[in-house]
């Protein structure tokens, strides 16, 4: 990635330094962590930046782990977020270690049992997959979160024939199922909800997403939970709550994630389904949080939210890191959440913060074509835009949401462009 000299030199003529920290420590060498470090360097911060991560790999991008890397189309290096040359160019220090405790008042962090001082701290420790109560330890049972998870599943897919059962039809489950179908595998998805993704997208659009699986030859069993996995050393069967049993050579569990906050228990920070931050991403004195682990007040939506999307990690990482260099009057972090998911040959995108029972209006295309954009609204106010293979429209209507437009505005835009 090209970098220009003048960006580093901008430090003296950019915003006045209210209390530039002597150093910045980032716990969690993740997307949010790396983008945060890059952002403050670009802004001209010249102090030491240290990233502490619990994996030996250099930071990598997760979206390809359920798609290109899993399919074997990409070697893992291609998913790297940053290479050694760029690390040197940015003057970043990486340390492998597990953070186990934080002392906010003493400005100390415990890593692998050793206390070290920090001046300003960014927490981006992310989240880890939820696991099944019973049978998760069997061979052939996987989650897909880390690069090592992905490579373990890929090795299993290479050598073990037979049906892949995916537990959970959320975005990770759906993408892994689509990738496995692409590899020619028989795939069954088991989803506890009656309609997949209904909690996020509502019943109507969730049903379209469900149909995509079936049209691509993936079996989808909804409205039933998994009670256990069984097998002798290696998984052989998946038991469902209704008594049914499915044969499984490989099981992938995608039932959501839990924010990694246990290490912060006993610190002065408030923990409640994530690290609680104010509207600027500040979690405590000289401490910010960003990415999957952060729960902050998004004033645009008047809601406290924790957002697990790629784009949020990028934006919040940069915002939170900059917050460490700013005093009172720092700007709020008020994004319109946006994500994408690629499944089979469909690209799904959602921008906004719709409720599942919001009204839905199709603004272009149709459900039947499997290529459409639809707006969500509540009481005439635009709350979201969903697209299936309609990226252009998603961005157009996202712009309307940004302006606080109404459903009528959206429908008249639809009328103009049809």
């Amino acid at each position: 990635m090209p970098e220009t000299g003048h960006q580093h030199q901008g430090v003296n003529d950019s915003t006045p330094d209210l209390h530039e920290p002597a150093s910045v420590t980032v716990v969690g060498a993740s997307l949010a962590g790396v983008r945060g470090a890059e952002a403050i360097r670009r802004d001209g911060y010249r102090g030491p930046i240290k990233l502490i991560g619990d994996e030996t790999h250099l930071p990598y991008d997760r979206p390809p782990l359920s798609k290109q890397v899993l399919a074997g189309q990409w070697e893992p290096e291609k998913a790297q977020l940053i290479d050694a040359a760029r690390v040197a160019e940015l003057g970043l220090t990486f340390e492998v270690g597990v953070a186990t405790a934080l002392d906010v008042e003493g400005r100390r962090i415990e890593v692998d049992g050793r206390w070290c001082d920090y001046d300003a701290l960014m927490i981006s420790t992310g989240a880890r997959p939820r696991r099944l109560q019973e049978g998760q330890q069997l061979e052939g049972v996987h989650v897909v979160r880390t690069l090592d998870d992905c490579l373990a599943l890929r090795r299993d897919l290479d050598v073990v024939p037979g049906r892949v059962v995916v537990v959970g039809a959320g975005f990770i489950g759906a993408e892994v199922a689509a990738t496995c179908r692409g590899l020619g595998r028989d795939v069954t998805i088991v989803e506890v909800a009656e309609v997949p993704l209904a909690r996020v997208l509502g019943d109507q659009i969730g049903a379209v997403c469900a149909a995509i699986h079936e049209e691509n030859g993936t079996e989808l069993i909804c409205g039933v939970g998994v009670s256990s996995l069984s097998g002798n050393l290696r998984v052989e069967e998946v038991q469902l709550d209704d008594g049914r049993t499915i044969e499984a050579a490989i099981v992938v569990v995608g039932i959501g994630v839990i924010p990694n906050t246990e290490w912060l228990e006993g610190s002065a920070l408030e923990i409640d389904n994530g690290v609680v931050c104010d509207a600027t991403c500040l979690a405590g004195p000289n401490v910010v949080a960003a990415g999957d682990v952060a729960r902050w007040y998004n004033d645009r939506f008047d809601q406290v939210m924790r957002v697990e999307h790629w784009d949020n990690a990028v934006e919040q990482g940069a915002h939170a890191a900059r917050r460490l260099l700013q005093g009172a009057g720092a700007p709020n972090f008020s994004p319109i959440p946006w994500f994408w998911s690629d499944q089979y040959d469909r690209k799904i995108q959602l921008a906004g913060r719709p409720s599942p029972d919001d009204r839905i209006d199709v603004v272009t295309g149709s459900f039947e074509e499997r290529r459409f954009a639809a707006v969500y609204s509540n009481d005439g106010a635009l709350t979201g835009i969903f697209g299936m293979n309609r990226p252009r429209h998603v961005m157009q209507y996202r712009g309307l949401i940004n302006e606080g437009a109404s459903l009528d505005d959206a429908l008249s835009l639809a009328g103009e462009s049809s």
Binding site: W310, D311, E315, N389, P391, R398
Partner: protein, 63 residues
């Protein structure tokens, strides 16, 4: 500066179009078109943002 898009990586998420519609356009054929490959220097912050926020890291800036 010159905007370079790696079309092997680009998946038309259209984030760049959201940031700088005067430079990036995803059309109804779902392909990205760069409307201006050499935007003026005052566009640099937006171009940097487009590079950063591209989910596929498909955009780069050559001086």
């Amino acid at each position: 500066m010159k905007i370079v898009v790696d079309y092997d990586l680009c998946e038309s998420n259209a984030i760049c179009m959201d940031i700088a519609p005067e430079v990036f356009e995803v059309r109804d054929d779902d392909f990205l078109y760069v409307l201006n490959e050499t935007p003026s220097e005052d566009m640099r912050p937006k171009m940097d943002e487009a590079v950063q926020r591209c989910p596929k890291q498909a955009i780069s800036i050559k001086e």
